[in-house]
């Protein structure tokens, strides 16, 4: 899932204070699970903004609503007419949601209500951990299922640096050293000898260094097109 955390309310206030009619727009999937931007959090932010507005003597209308996902139009299309009645949308979806919505709201700005951090898992309630950086060319089969790109502070590909100490990363005692974990895990799996090989410099163009990425699944697009044709013909709409 995508993990984010709420922006400080003072920062949000600075962003929105000059607008008159604001919609705090939540997203009920990933960011709801990490308690950053679901319906509940959108409601809280809206309340805090109303309080702040009255404290500062600013005339401002702040409402909130939410949909299941900001990253697929079918979820927000039904509420779009209402959304477009505001002069600012403060989206508490992840950055993907903010971008996606922003491309579709014409002259109405969409501002971010949260800081989107990473793709992560929930090892225990209230804790979120980054485990993959979406590099576009997965090598987990060579590193014991533990990602050196997302989890090593230097994205090293050929083993630990000299900074590992008692299994922790040189950056902080609170951070596991990914390479320590990889070596221990591969020992357990009996595949340590795989690490003897020198991995050559990577082609980072599959990662974000190649510009924004797009995955297009032709078989699904072909299927959708065919289905579309069928319904259109059935409905007598064709031509």
């Amino acid at each position: 899932m995508i993990v984010g955390s709420q922006k400080p309310i003072d920062e949000i206030w600075e962003m929105v204070k000059d607008f008159k009619k604001i919609l705090v727009f939540g997203c009920n999937t990933c960011v709801a699970i990490c308690h950053a931007g679901g319906d509940k959090e959108a409601e809280t932010i809206a309340t805090l903004l109303r309080m702040r507005a009255s404290q500062e003597g600013v005339d401002m209308q702040v409402d909130h609503t939410s949909v299941m996902r900001h990253c697929e139009p079918e979820y927000f299309d039904p509420v779009m007419d209402d959304v477009k009645k505001y002069d600012l949308i403060l989206s508490t979806a992840c950055g993907v949601g903010v971008n996606f919505l922003s491309d579709r709201t014409g002259i109405i700005p969409v501002y971010p209500g949260i800081n989107t951090s990473f793709y992560g898992a929930v090892p225990e309630p209230g804790v979120f951990e980054e485990l993959c950086a979406g590099c576009g060319d997965c090598i987990l089969h060579m590193t014991g299922g533990i990602c050196p790109i997302a989890r090593c502070s230097k994205t090293l590909m050929n083993g630990p640096c000299g900074g590992t100490k008692e299994g922790k990363c040189e950056v902080s005692d609170e951070m596991d050293c990914a390479w320590y974990l990889i070596v221990e895990r591969m020992k357990m799996l009996g595949t340590l000898e795989k690490l003897s090989e020198v991995l050559p410099p990577r082609d980072w163009s599959t990662s974000r260094d190649g510009g924004p990425r797009r995955v297009s699944m032709e078989h699904i697009r072909a299927y959708e097109e065919k289905e579309g044709e069928k319904t259109e013909t059935a409905g007598g709409k064709k031509e």
Binding site: G159, G162, G163, T164, E170, W179, V183, E184, V198, L199
Partner: protein, 326 residues
């Protein structure tokens, strides 16, 4: 001969090699580099010029190395993977070679968070690069030198001929992987290795036994790292906080005793500790050089370059061999 550098010639001659370290200043003070180069010249076969060590902004390794070279001190330019992508790395290597530099040590580099330590603000918010890692950097340099090719495959009419070095932390975690770590650097093309500072001779010797069994000592020249202790506090700090370094209690006790002997006299306490530190260094140099498979020492007197001359003489490693270029 791969590079024809003085360091390479000394190593090939079979005599124990001595490298030292020159830390460039945190301002545009070229005189400081000249001063340090003069202190080291003649007392080592080559001196590492650090590359923004602990991620603190200093005169760049390549520029400081060029100044040292003009002063007649052979530099080992250090290059971290932290601050440059493969384009900048190769461009710098071409430039360094064009200026006559012949040794380069590849290292990952300290994380940028290290820069904000003590009284320094540093640049902990910097973005690090790590386009390539140390092994990959070594292999790029080798490909340039031996195949006359850039990493991407374009040809180099004149190839940069570097004597390629890499660092190694023999006693780092996970300890049983460290020999493999060294093997990878050697397989990638490291001609020489400088190790992390060694105080625990027994631990080092047991790792070196594994290295000899793997035959790595014959494929690369291992220079044992010695960090000159300057005070008891420094040794304590290194023991508790520096990764891959453990300091036997007996050495810490010796330094603390030297300090105590001065009573309240701070100046004397410093002198006594520095004297003891040099003595310890000389002992360590001998113990490291007696370890089979070791071909030299890398002596780091951090921000204390003036100590090197005494140490090298006291260790019986002076004068340095003069092996003319072919």
């Amino acid at each position: 001969m791969k590079s024809g550098s003085n360091l390479e010639r000394v190593i090939l001659s079979g005599q124990p090699a001595v490298t030292a370290e020159l830390g460039p200043p945190m301002s545009a003070d070229g005189h400081e580099v000249v001063k340090k180069a003069q202190l080291l010249k003649g007392n080592c076969d080559a001196a590492n010029v650090t590359d923004c060590q602990t991620a603190v902004v200093r005169i760049s390794s390549i520029a400081a190395a060029a100044i040292a070279f003009q002063q007649g001190l052979e530099p080992v330019m250090q290059m971290t993977c932290r601050d440059r992508n493969r384009i900048a790395i190769q461009a710098d290597l071409l430039g360094a070679a064009a200026m006559g530099l012949k040794n380069c040590l590849c290292i990952a580099g300290d994380h940028q968070s290290f820069s904000a330590a003590g009284r320094l603000k540093g640049h902990p918010g910097a973005k690090n690069v790590y386009d390539v890692d140390t092994c990959q950097l070594v292999s790029i340099m080798k490909k340039m030198r031996d195949n006359g090719l850039q990493e991407g495959g374009d040809t180099l009419e004149i190839a940069p001929k570097f004597f390629i070095g890499a660092s190694w932390t023999p006693m780092g975690d996970p300890i049983d992987f460290r020999p493999v770590n060294l093997m990878k650097k050697v397989n990638a093309g490291a001609d020489f290795i400088q190790t992390q500072g060694i105080y625990d001779i027994e631990g080092f010797r047991s790792q070196m036994e594994k290295i000899r069994n793997m035959g790595l000592h014959e494929r690369t020249a291992i220079l044992g790292g010695i960090i000159v202790p300057r005070s008891g506090m420094m040794l304590k700090y290194m023991d508790s906080s520096v990764a891959g370094v453990s300091v036997p209690k007996s050495l810490i006790d010796r330094m603390m005793k030297a300090k105590a002997a001065a009573g309240d006299d701070k100046k004397k306490a410093r002198q006594l500790q520095e004297g003891e530190g040099k003595k310890i260094t000389v002992e360590l140099i001998h113990q490291v050089l007696e370890t089979p498979g070791v071909r030299g020492v890398h002596i780091q007197a951090i921000e204390w370059e003036s100590a090197i001359a005494d140490i090298v003489k006291a260790a019986g490693l002076y004068p340095r061999p003069n092996i003319p270029a072919e």
